[in-house]
Every structure is written in structure tokens, then in C-alpha cells.
């Protein structure tokens, strides 16, 4: 933003540039609505297919079913080995554990990076940023052998414990940026009053960084919930399966069996993310923009 913006008059070239004429405006809206329909159509198709009888899914391409078949949901719910309620419970355990882990461990690390000077800080900080770029696939095999030796395979521990060790550097980075925007005077005032760093973290920084913690919570929730690869690797028996793994069970059966049920469960599987999106839409979009920008 430039500091001085001259008042806009309707004749200024900038005005013409910014607020387009009526027809141009309509043109832009038309293009954007067109793009929006293409973007959302597959999702609407999934929703409508989830309510259609199998025979209609591929023969009646329209979005409005001629016959409703809500039984797809009840059949899908109980139809893939275990009941879907088990998969949802398992997913909840994993995601809630991951959220708690990330919020605690990442905020601790971020506070240290944002507020202290210590030996090698630049190097440690650089390493932290480096792990941001490291693809998880590069450490997947040795991490698996570690958890194998700990006999943690087919438990939720490999999916939760690492989050308590601040492995998601993205959130540390996000929180460091946020803490830097909190005035240091607040810490110093508390320090003069005799508060130790732990109290400053707990009583001042943590309450003030609520927006960053909420962003972390939402993204950790969604990304962990959708993290198919790690769940596929670590969870081996049906009764430990999470929602994404439960969904893949439909894939093996589909030839012949119910497509409607598969779409019904796919719709349900997306529901938590969709609800998060609808509630926190603005924060999600802006969180993505600012965390990307501050780099």
C-alpha cells in the first residue's frame, strides 16, 4: 500500500482501471461464476450421486435425482467391514491428539525462537525452516522402523506422538511470525514484576496468540484427518482404521456393489472439513495468505 493515495475522481485513469464499466463488470462476474460452477460441480455431483439409486448414477447425469435413495447412507454406514462409527471414532482420537500435540509443542518452540537470544539460534532456526522443505517420504521408512521397534505399529501412537515433538515446522514458523507482532513491552513489564519465562508464556503470550492457535488447530485437524499415507502405513487392522482407510475398503468392492453407498460415505467423510471450512472460511483463507506472505 502506498502511503498517499490521491482522492479518486471519476475521470482519473486509475478509476477507469479499478472500477470497470457496467458491461465489463458483468463480464467479469460471468467468468467468475462460470469458474465457480466448474470448481464446485464435482462436489455437487458427489452429493447428488449419494442420494441416487445405483442405476441412476451413471445414466442420469443431472444433479436432481428422479428418485431419492437415502438408504445409501445407512447401508454405507454399516457396509464396509466395521461400522463407520468406529472409523469416525478412530479418526477423532488421532486428530484430537494431533491438534493438542501441535498446539503445545509448536507454541513452546515458537516462543523460544521469537523471544530469546541463545547460542546457535540462527542455525537452529535455519534447520527448522529446512525441515519445512523435507518431504515426509524421505523419512517415512526409517521412522517406520523406529515405530516398529517400539512395537507401535497398528496403534495410534505413530500418528500422535510426533505432533508432541513439533515435527510440523510450518506451524512453528506461523507462530514465530505471530509472536513477533506482540509488543515486547508486555513481556518486559511482566518480567519486572518478577514473572519467569514460563509465566510469561502461559499468562501473556499464549492468550494473546489465540488467532494463531486457532489457525493451527483448524489446519492440523484437516490435514491430519486427510493424511492418508501415514494412516495407511501405520494402521493395519480393520478395527484401527480411520475414515480415509474405511473409505478405501469401498474401492475394492465397488465392482458390482453399491456406488451410491460409496458416494454417501465419501460425502460424510468430507463433512468435518466442510464444516470447518464454513465456520472458519475467512480465517482459513487469510491464514493461508498471510503465512505464505510473511516468508
Amino acid at each position: 500500500m502506498s502511503a498517499i493515495t490521491p482522492p479518486r475522481s471519476s475521470t482519473s485513469p486509475l478509476h477507469k482501471l479499478r472500477s470497470a464499466t457496467g458491461t465489463r463488470r458483468i463480464f467479469i462476474h460471468t467468468v467468475l461464476i462460470g469458474v465457480a460452477i466448474v470448481m464446485l460441480y464435482p462436489l455437487m455431483w458427489m452429493l447428488s450421486s449419494s442420494l441416487k439409486p445405483d442405476t441412476e448414477i451413471f445414466t442420469h447425469p443431472g444433479l436432481i435425482p428422479t428418485a431419492l435413495r437415502p438408504e445409501n447412507y445407512s447401508e454405507g454406514w454399516s457396509g464396509s467391514g466395521n461400522s463407520f462409527s468406529l472409523y469416525i471414532t478412530n479418526s477423532l482420537i488421532v486428530t484430537i491428539g494431533a491438534v493438542i500435540g501441535n498446539v503445545i509443542s509448536c507454541s513452546l518452540a515458537a516462543y523460544a525462537f521469537a523471544r530469546f537470544e541463545f547460542r546457535g539460534k540462527k542455525i537452529w532456526f535455519g534447520l527448522m525452516l529446512g525441515t519445512l522443505m523435507l518431504p515426509t517420504q524421505a523419512v517415512l521408512i526409517p521412522q517406520y522402523t523406529i515405530f516398529y521397534n517400539l512395537t507401535w505399529i497398528n496403534t495410534f501412537l505413530p500418528l500422535i506422538v510426533p505432533k508432541f515433538l513439533a515435527v510440523d515446522a510450518f506451524f512453528i514458523f506461523l507462530m514465530v511470525q505471530f509472536i513477533r507482532s506482540i509488543p515486547r513491552e508486555l513481556d518486559q513489564a511482566a518480567m519486572v514484576d518478577g514473572a519467569n519465562p514460563w509465566k510469561i508464556y502461559w499468562r501473556i503470550i499464549l492468550p494473546l496468540m489465540k488467532p494463531a492457535l486457532i489457525t493451527t488447530t483448524i489446519f492440523t485437524f484437516i490435514w491430519t484427518y486427510d493424511d492418508f499415507l501415514h494412516q495407511l502405513v501405520y494402521l493395519q487392522q480393520n478395527d484401527k482404521f480411520t475414515v480415509p482407510l474405511g473409505l478405501t475398503l469401498f474401492l475394492d468392492q465397488t465392482s458390482g456393489s453399491s456406488y451410491g453407498a460409496m458416494f454417501a460415505m465419501s460425502t460424510l467423510a468430507l463433512l468435518p472439513t466442510l464444516i470447518c471450512f464454513l465456520i472458519f472460511q475467512k480465517r482459513l483463507v487469510e491464514g493461508m495468505a498471510t503465512s505464505g506472505m510473511k516468508g
Partner: protein, 326 residues
């Protein structure tokens, strides 16, 4: 005078500090400085991260380097085989080359398309429009859902022989009834389309960048008679290069890691004819289906080096095309 007679010291705000005050203040300042350095406090706060860094990143990286020179099936001790895994990869494993091919095509086609679309839509959204929030949300949603198995399942059906995509082609009389998923020529491109569909994240970042551009430059150019196209190529794009760069680096790394849609769409096989065998999927299959952990470790190290190489080349090349203001 009376106070002096009774021997009391009156402290006025402006009075010069007594030596003891001075000492007290120095002590406080030293204490603040020490607190800032923090002694062992920062290490305490960083303790979980240190454990994670060494236990789950640095040690595994080294362990994986060691394993990559061994045969290891997880159940029996690893056997040292020297360069065998790497030899086999480059000279004796056609599937490896299939996966390299699929991955490179995927990265090279999807990343530019995705970024171009993201920038184009961001340009359209960068004005005072009614309902701009709704548009942003609608375009961002697919990116947020992107990694979900459910989306990959939907995609598989959309591009199947009787799916939505063929219906769409039918409107233009182009429906040949082809099954895009089971044809080796097109299966990979359904994955590319899925990636392009998820242009929301870079779009949001572009949009934030566009909002930061100085308006007066555009105004001056418009007064000088520069048209929209000239303004875009001479002003917008050069000023935006740091953000373009940021998005390029991020999206390339992301594309290399793609796993879920390739797994779901091919039912875990990478088929037809290895056309959707993205590198991550091949690594998974070698490690966890075939239990060739040593070979998979070698694959992982090659992936790590290739991504590091791409990123390094990106950073070096950026000197020639990224313009920083300050």
C-alpha cells in the same frame, strides 16, 4: 531543610540517583539482559522440538542413508550390499524409470498450469467486486479438500467411462465413451487435472501479493497510455516475482509428494501400465508392499536429493528473474 535536619533522604522524581539506586537499576538491567538470553530457558521450551528434530528427522535421515546400502526386509537384520540398490535402480528397474517419467510429466505439466490459472483468477478477483469473499471461498474449497481420499474417489468416477466428464464432452458431441482412468495415455492427465483444480492455495497467496502492489505505479503507467497487457507484463509480473517464486518452490515440492490420488485412482497399483506410478506411490509399494526397505530407502534418498536439487536450482535461477524491491 527540616528533612535534612532529621536525616531523612527525600526522593524526588527528578533527584539524582543515589549509589544504591544506581546499583539496583544496574542489577535489574543485567537481569533483563540475562532473561533475554534466557540461560537454559530457551532450551527448555525447545526440548520437544529438539527431540523431534534429532529423533524423527536427523537420525532417520542418517539411518535411511545407511539402510539404502543394505537389503532390509524389517524382520531380519539388514545386510550390507554397497551400491547394489542404486545400481539396480538406474540400470535394472524399468518401473523406477516409469515412475520417474510419470512424476516429471506430472510436475512439469501441473505446476505451470496451476500457477497460471491461480494468477489469472487472482487478477480477476483483485478489484472491488461484490461477492468477492464468496468467490475466494468457492475457489479455495477444492484445495482444502484436495488431499482427501473422498475427492480422489469422486475423481475416479468423474473420469470413468460413464462418468461426468464424458457427459460433459457429450454436450459438444465429443463423447467417445473412453474410460480416461483405464487408458495409459490419459490416466496421468486426470491426476494433472485434479492438481490444477486445486489452484486455490497459490491463488490466495497471489491475491495477497497483488493487494500489496503500489497503486501509484499503475496510475502513472495508465496516464502514460500503457494498456492492460503492457501493465501486466511490465509492472504486475515483475513486481510479483517474489511471490511467483515462493509459489513455484512450494508447488513443485508439493507435486513431488503427491500420493493419495495416485493410490486411490489406480487402486494402489499405479496402473494402467505404470502410467500413474508417481514416485511416492512406488516408494510406498517397494517399502510397505514388497518389504524391500533398503531399496525403498535408496528411493527415498534419491527423492530427497532431487527435491533439494530442484529447490537449489530454483533459488539460483531466481537471481535472474526475481526482483526484490529493497
Amino acid at each position: 531543610m527540616t528533612t535534612a535536619q532529621t536525616g531523612e533522604v527525600v526522593k524526588e522524581p527528578s533527584a539524582p540517583a543515589t549509589p544504591s539506586d544506581q546499583r539496583e537499576r544496574d542489577r535489574m538491567r543485567r537481569r533483563l539482559a540475562r532473561r533475554r538470553g534466557g540461560g537454559w530457558w530457551p532450551y527448555l521450551f525447545l526440548a520437544p522440538w529438539f527431540v523431534g528434530l534429532f529423533g524423527l528427522t536427523i537420525y532417520p535421515m542418517l539411518d535411511s542413508l545407511y539402510l539404502s546400502f543394505t537389503n532390509f526386509d524389517l524382520l531380519t537384520p539388514a545386510q550390507w550390499v554397497g551400491m547394489d540398490n542404486y545400481d539396480r535402480m538406474f540400470t535394472d528397474d524399468p518401473v523406477f524409470w516409469d515412475s520417474v517419467h510419470a512424476t516429471l510429466v506430472y510436475v512439469v505439466v501441473s505446476v505451470p498450469l496451476k500457477l497460471a490459472l491461480a494468477l489469472a483468477v487472482a487478477m480477476l478477483l483483485n478489484r472491488d467486486l461484490r461477492g468477492i469473499g464468496l468467490y475466494r471461498a468457492a475457489f479455495y474449497l477444492p484445495s482444502l479438500l484436495g488431499g482427501a481420499v473422498a475427492i480422489a474417489i469422486v475423481w475416479r468416477q468423474v473420469f470413468g467411462g460413464e462418468g461426468l466428464f464424458n457427459d460433459f464432452l457429450g454436450w459438444f458431441g465429443l463423447n467417445t465413451g473412453q474410460d480416461w482412468i483405464s487408458s495409459p495415455d490419459t490416466a496421468l492427465y486426470t491426476l494433472v487435472l485434479l492438481a490444477v483444480w486445486q489452484f486455490g492455495t497459490p491463488m490466495v497467496i497471489f491475491l495477497a501479493g497483488l493487494k500489496q502492489l503500489p497503486k501509484d505505479v499503475f496510475e502513472a503507467a495508465a496516464i502514460d497510455g500503457a494498456g492492460a497487457v503492457t501493465r501486466f507484463f511490465k509492472i504486475t509480473l515483475p513486481l510479483l516475482t517474489p511471490i511467483v517464486f515462493f509459489n513455484v518452490v512450494l508447488q513443485i515440492i508439493d507435486a513431488f509428494k503427491t500420493f493419495t490420488p495416485a493410490f486411490v485412482i489406480s487402486n494402489g497399483s499405479g496402473g494402467p501400465l505404470n502410467s500413474t506410478m508417481l514416485y511416492s506411490l512406488y516408494l510406498y509399494k517397494k517399502g510397505f508392499t514388497d518389504l524391500q526397505m533398503g531399496y525403498a530407502s535408496a528411493l527415498a534418498w534419491v527423492l530427497f536429493l532431487v527435491i533439494a536439487l530442484f529447490t537449489a536450482v530454483n533459488f539460483i535461477a531466481s537471481r535472474y528473474w526475481v526482483h526484490y524491491d529493497d
